[in-house]
Amino acid sequence: MPSLLEYIPFLIEGSLWTLSLVALGLSLGLSLGLPIALMKFYGVKLDAYIWFMRGTPLVVLLSLLYWGVFPSFGVELGPFETSVIALGLRSSAYQSQIFLSALNSVDSGQIIAARSIGMRESQVVTYVLLPQALRISLPSWSNEYAIMLKDSSICFALGVMEILTRARYISVATDSALLPYLLAGVLFFSLTHAGTGALEIVYRRVKIKGTLGG
């Protein structure tokens, strides 16, 4: 039986999968969440979508998609792709909340001022609203990254070989119940803090001068 040490590269390799899931899931969440937030900002009622996504456990969503929706429509998407979609859909609901609150916090006077110099609404959104809202969202969005990182483990149910799945295999292969999970925990911890730390640095650099909090 190989020793625990020999399994460490195997465990770390899982990070690639985990990070892919997270990156793609967050991107999908962003590309859906931002338009949804803008639509809500301008009065379109999309509460039901958010209500559904927030209320559905990720495992349920994943299973619904993989075993129910996709086969029924003849869509053939593999476990990894389905996981990304499930993670992304869920994230979009939460991200839309983050963006909406950021949009609302941009002083409406600036919107009126932008219109007063002749900007079309699309320009107001592009040059005044979004640049500020996106910067304001960063801290909360960084949170979403941390959450997504942990959520990604759910995908083991479909055989995606992310970190936790590998920890399980190692635990069984080396007859040790604690250590592999401890190591996995350290890995998650590092990835979380590396990510949020990086986002923090980005936030500091792009922060609008005069924003509260430093």
Binding site: G68, G159, T165
Partner: protein
């Protein structure tokens, strides 16, 4: 307004699709064609599904490839026919669905032949026999009945046949608390560190484990067997008649050869 309608529509679609899939399919016509109903032309690639959670039958190597008794058996079968094997690790809770769905073509992962499972999937000839056992700490002097009525924790692997045994016993009126853990290893560790008073496991897992961990072997003992012996078999889709026939042919040949004992010895299963 629009948003609400869209959401309700989506919800309806989702529920409808899920239900449509969940409602038990009509008995699948066995004459229905599937990937391996008939001999395929050209190169044969078998997607081999397993849950690398079960030594010594399937275990994950550091390089990402599985090893184990079942893996060796599958590899030998494939070698005989010149098949290619693609390894697909899958979670035990959804592995049957994955087979039905076509994500994988065979399951060889310490899977017990049960009447319930054979409603949905077909099994090869059985290749290994084991029995469920109740394991306690060596110094525990109580009888089987006493343990089962002790109101203490008995550990099992969640979703395993041992888990089902625990449920059966509880239903029959025995008084204990079930402690469901991730793997047999975790369940054994719970016994060793005192969180559980007993473990329900099976001899297929236990015997090799004790051989690998002599220190643990000193600290536990098998108190008794539960129920009749069970068997492991390789699973395929019902429609894949050709595949199953081939597997059976190879299995029987293997089991009747000296190679079989070699294999058992190699993995501590003798």
């Amino acid at each position: 307004m629009v948003g609400r309608y869209i959401a309700v529509l989506l919800l309806g679609l989702l529920v409808g699709a899920a239900l449509g899939y969940a409602i038990p399919k009509q008995e699948e016509c066995l004459l229905e064609r599937s990937k391996f109903s008939n001999p395929p032309s050209g190169e044969v690639t078998i997607v081999y599904g397993f849950d690398a959670n079960y030594p010594p039958f399937t275990v994950m190597q550091p390089d990402g490839k599985p090893v184990g008794f079942d893996v060796d058996v599958m590899n030998l079968i494939a070698e005989k026919y010149g098949w290619k094997i693609v390894y697909k690790p899958w979670d035990w809770s959804t592995i049957v669905a994955a087979l039905e769905n076509g994500d994988i073509d065979v399951i060889a992962s310490g899977m017990t032949f049960t009447a319930e499972r054979s409603q949905k999937i077909w099994f090869s000839v059985p290749y290994y026999t084991y029995v469920h056992q109740l394991v306690v700490r060596s110094e525990d002097k109580r009888s089987l009945d006493e343990i089962l009525n002790s109101n203490e924790y008995i550990a099992v692997q969640v979703g395993s046949t041992a888990d089902k045994w625990a449920d059966k016993l509880l239903k029959a009126g025995y008084k204990f608390k079930k402690l469901g853990l991730d793997s047999y290893v975790a369940a054994l560790e719970a016994l060793l560190d005192g969180r559980a008073s007993a473990v329900i496991t099976d001899s297929a897992f236990l015997e090799p484990y004790l051989k690998r961990n002599p220190a643990a072997a000193d600290r536990v003992k098998v108190l008794g067997n539960l129920g009749a012996p069970k068997t492991y078999a390789i699973a395929t889709r019902p429609q894949d008649k050709w595949l199953r026939d081939k597997i059976n042919e190879a299995l029987e040949e293997l089991m009747n050869s000296p190679k079989w004992n070699e294999l058992l010895r190699k993995w501590g299963l003798d």
